[in-house]
């Protein structure tokens, strides 16, 4: 009897509370994220900007540690205690959440219209019939160079491969600078800042990448082997003992002014701005012949999705539409230089180096890293193999043709369209 009364009172109180909140229209949205570095930017810039435009919706940003994020998020989603908005990793990690019914399909949201199919590819099903996260930012690959060193040695920014190697030769002959700062000890730089940086020029960006996924092209084709051939030429321009040089070693070599060119990703920008006391510029991967169309790796990195079981779906959709707006794009890109908006909005950025990077989108065609979508689902893992093959190509321990053949055999062993 007592229990019944208690239950009744609890029920009444919940109705009253929900009625009260409905009356006040004060909805609180919670965002799950791994970007705890960005906590202050969200609290001081992004959320106030949204709340000013949308009275009645409060937003809370609750990040967890990057290494734990996937595990924490999965258990929260399974337990039903996850926030309303979920920050999405690209490709398979988020796709598996969508397949399990944790993320809602956002394809029909208005904000989604501001994104190209390439930008959406990181968070779409394989057939692109559903898109479950609103793209936030990408990172662009290219080369950062020391402007002072270029002036001192007297080289111009290269646009073709011939010019690129001529510049490297000249810097090497001058002898004051290591021509290019990269090591092979940690392996991933060779693939990410090497192979996938210069590669899109050869396989024509999306055209080649999608053909590879469909099975129309093979990793033994000239377009996929040629980047290894260029990497093999890099060897002579890397510093002494590059075989044991680590990623932080390379960063320090460049920011200390001892190297002239750094094969880079745009995420380096804010760190380099703090460390380096010389002027820096950036150039996109040089094309094979003058007049060739250029392609860049504009890799989808971070997005925002909606918990399929959220009680505040309308408010969450309002927020997601705002994430697709030009207001959000400009706040985000300026607070975190190097993380570029994926939208089609014309975003003004103040950081000069970031402007260099983003200006390439107008001149070149964008693509993403070739190994990330679908092709790294099996064993052997194509991404890991590409690290290894790129390192071997640079060191000259495996010929480009052999590397291509090995990767193709590995991919064909589990991937149907390539069999």
């Amino acid at each position: 009897m007592k229990n019944q009364i208690l239950k009744g009172m609890l029920l009444a109180s919940t109705i009253l509370v929900s009625a009260g909140s409905a009356f006040a229209e004060d909805v609180t949205l919670t965002i799950e994220s791994w970007r705890n570095d960005d906590l202050s930017i969200w609290q001081e810039k992004i959320i106030p900007a949204f709340e000013a435009d949308n009275p009645g919706i409060k937003v809370k940003f609750t990040p967890s540690a990057p290494a734990e994020y996937n595990a924490v998020l999965n258990s929260k989603l399974d337990a039903g205690s996850a926030g309303d908005l979920i920050t999405c990793r690209p490709f398979d990690a988020s796709l598996s959440l969508y397949d399990k019914g944790h993320l809602a399909d956002l394809k029909d949201l208005d904000g989604m219209k501001n994104f190209s199919p390439v930008a959406r590819s990181g968070w779409s099903t394989d057939d692109a019939s559903a898109t479950f996260c609103m793209p936030m930012a990408s990172v662009i690959h290219g080369f950062i160079y020391n402007k002072d060193a270029f002036k001192e040695v007297g080289v111009e920014v290269p646009t073709t491969e011939a010019e690129f190697f001529a510049a490297l030769d000249k810097i090497k002959a001058d002898g004051n600078y290591i021509p290019m700062a990269m090591g092979t000890n940690d392996q991933w730089e060779a693939a990410t800042m090497g192979y996938n940086n210069i590669g899109p020029n050869y396989w024509k960006g999306e055209e080649g990448r999608l053909a590879l996924i469909k099975g129309d092209q093979k990793l033994t084709d000239e377009a996929w082997v040629a980047p290894y051939r260029q990497l093999a030429k890099w060897k002579d321009y890397l510093g002494d003992g590059f075989e044991a040089q680590t990623y932080p070693d390379s960063q320090n070599l460049f920011t200390l002014g001892r190297a002239a060119i750094y094969p880079a990703g745009s995420w380096e920008i804010s760190g380099f701005n703090k460390q380096a006391d010389f002027k820096m510029g950036a150039f996109y991967p040089p094309v094979q012949k003058a007049g060739d169309e250029c392609y860049i790796s504009d890799h989808t990195d971070i997005a925002l999705g909606m918990n399929a079981k959220t009680k505040n779906a309308e408010a969450a959709k309002t927020f997601l539409n705002w994430v697709g707006s030009s207001d959000f794009a400009s706040i985000y890109a300026n607070s975190l230089p190097g993380f570029f908006s994926l939208s089609n909005h014309d975003v003004k950025m103040e950081d000069a180096l970031a402007q260099d990077f983003v200006s390439w989108r107008g001149k070149c065609k964008s693509s993403i890293r070739s190994t990330y979508q679908i092709l790294s689902r099996g064993t052997p893992n194509l991404e890991n193999e590409t690290w290894n093959a790129s390192v071997n190509a640079i060191k000259g321990t495996e010929s480009p043709e052999d590397a291509g053949k090995r990767l193709q055999d590995g991919l064909a062993s589990w991937y149907k369209p390539q069999q």
């Binding site: 003992g241 590059f242 893992n381 890991n384």
Partner: protein, 309 residues
Amino acid sequence: MATTAENRPKFRWHIIVFLAPAVLVYTAVMIIPLFGTLQFSLYTTIDNTQHFVGLDNFRTLFGDPRWSDSFWNALGNNAWFFFIHMVVQNPIGILLAALLSHPRLRMSAFYRTTIFIPTILSFVIVGFGWKLILSPIWGIAPSMLDAVGLKSLFAPWLGKEAYALTTLSLISVWQYVGIPMMLIYAALLSIPDEVLEAAECDGITGMSQFWKIKLPLILPSIGIISILTFVANFNAFDLIYSAQGALAGPNYSTDILGTFLYRTFFGFQLQLGDPNMGSTIASAMFFIILAGVSVYLFLIQTRLRRYQF
């Protein structure tokens, strides 16, 4: 009747009570996971459910050229890792112990402590420290070689396929040489003085005393050290992981069973973890170590002569 009951030895409960904590803890943290791993290696995961597949995973590991190449490469590297320890670490350990136990050596406590200290260092410190020492850019190794005019001998050892594994083995030797040293030192100290005095009366002194009297007496300790080295080396993982990462570069030349297991079980970068194949590798490691230990216990240890004093 009453007398026979008194004569029969009482059931000794205290044995069970005193053994229980150790048995329970050991079972919970060692035996159950071990059998769990063995069981896991007989299953495969399809659509988030486990299916029994018998020995299929082992067939994949040894039959599929992709898996077996990686496995034999890791096993071969592991054997080389063990070989370096056996021919470098243990003889040096015995030599150091012999020097330390020399009665006229001064400051032996200082040497003993200094040589033993790396053993208690974290492998992260050891891996990172040696990486810096050997770094071609900031390291002190190139400049020290330069100072004695031998700069041409320097190579980025950790980055060259031909040298990386040997370099790492020697770093590991540097770290753990204190353990055989301590064990042999203790064995040498336990040799009674009468035996040595008797030897001296017979005119056996100096080096020949070591070879003819001391070495036979410490052989059982050397046997124990060898088997400890074997087990530790085939379970090794930490130094390689902290110095070269989970891909065990360059070109998998430092990949040992431990790193191969880690990569497979937990996944790496875009590679998702595969607990079933990981368990299969772990089981293979277990059988290799079991075989090695059995060979030692049944073939070698039973033939070692022991001396009672």
